[in-house]
């Protein structure tokens, strides 16, 4: 699973460098997210702008990634493409995560 990470100030940005997050990679995604977030920022933005498709297993892996962060740390999502946004909306997970149209908006919202 291709994840890359950088930290700016108090915010860690994790970018998914893959077009799909599906059942075949869900477990690896969760484990890689655990590694990436092992120590660090209280606020994590997952940049999904490269992701064209997600299935319910991929969605579950993102939920699991937030749960494993523990108390007081936030996982926010940026750049959801239409099909990805639809899966979040139908499952009502759009009410669970803070969603940003893109990474720039996500970073700007920190300053509010």
């Amino acid at each position: 699973m291709a994840l890359s990470s950088k930290t700016t100030g108090e915010t860690q940005i994790i970018t998914v460098d893959a077009a799909r997050i599906d059942a075949a990679m869900a477990i690896q995604f969760k484990e890689d997210m655990r590694t990436q977030t092992a120590d660090g920022a209280g606020r994590i933005i997952l940049d999904l702008s490269a992701v064209e498709f997600i299935d319910s297993s991929g969605l579950g892996a993102i939920v699991a990634s937030m749960k494993q962060l523990g108390n007081g740390r936030r996982l926010e999502l940026a750049g959801l493409q239409p099909v990805v946004a639809k899966v979040f909306r139908l499952t009502r997970m759009d009410t669970v995560f803070k969603l940003h149209p893109n990474l720039d908006d996500a970073l700007a919202s920190e300053l509010e």
Binding site: R20, S56, S57, L59, L90, V96
Partner: protein, 161 residues
């Protein structure tokens, strides 16, 4: 056009028809779903409808891989998509376990109005299938599971009365 992919996924695309056959393991299913999604994008459907069909196909195929061949050697999964003027019909067949009670689950999703630690990480598959497909039927015949999915090409409300 028919080609045997190097990955074991057979894709057959003729006029208005897509077919794939693959062994029921996650990696093969992932490639097959990606092939079907690419084919769907070429059928000239409205974007929202294409999105719905992509989501349902992935969930229905993942269900087969996850449940039908649980604790037995993975058999083949065959998927055909037939596009006609008014609707698109999908048939998925496998030779795995029948659905429990020979019926499709209701697909009522777990609530997300709960503490973070209790959020559901799964159980959305049948909910998505039932929500997005215009018709879903299941049948068990001669040791095979058959799932029929039907999508209207245009929403009923959009049609002239």
């Amino acid at each position: 056009m028919k080609r045997q992919g190097a990955n074991g996924v057979t894709v057959n695309c003729e006029d208005g028809r897509l077919e794939v056959a693959f062994p029921a393991v996650e990696a093969e299913a992932s490639r097959a779903i990606a092939s079907l999604h690419a084919g769907l994008s070429n059928l000239g459907l409205p974007g929202q409808k294409t999105a719905d069909i992509k989501i349902v196909l992935a969930e229905a195929i993942n269900n087969v891989v996850e449940h039908a061949y649980a604790e037995r050697a993975p058999g083949m999964v065959r998927v055909s998509v037939l596009d006609s003027k008014d609707y698109l019909e999908v048939q998925i067949t496998d030779t795995g376990h029948p659905l429990p009670g020979l019926k499709m689950p209701d697909g009522i999703p777990a609530s997300v109005e709960t503490d973070t630690s209790n959020l559901p990480e799964g159980g959305f598959g049948w909910f998505l299938i039932r929500t997005l497909a215009d018709e879903v039927r299941y049948d068990r015949r001669n040791g095979q599971n058959l799932l029929f999915l039907r999508f209207e090409r245009t929403k009923k409300a959009d049609r002239p009365q």
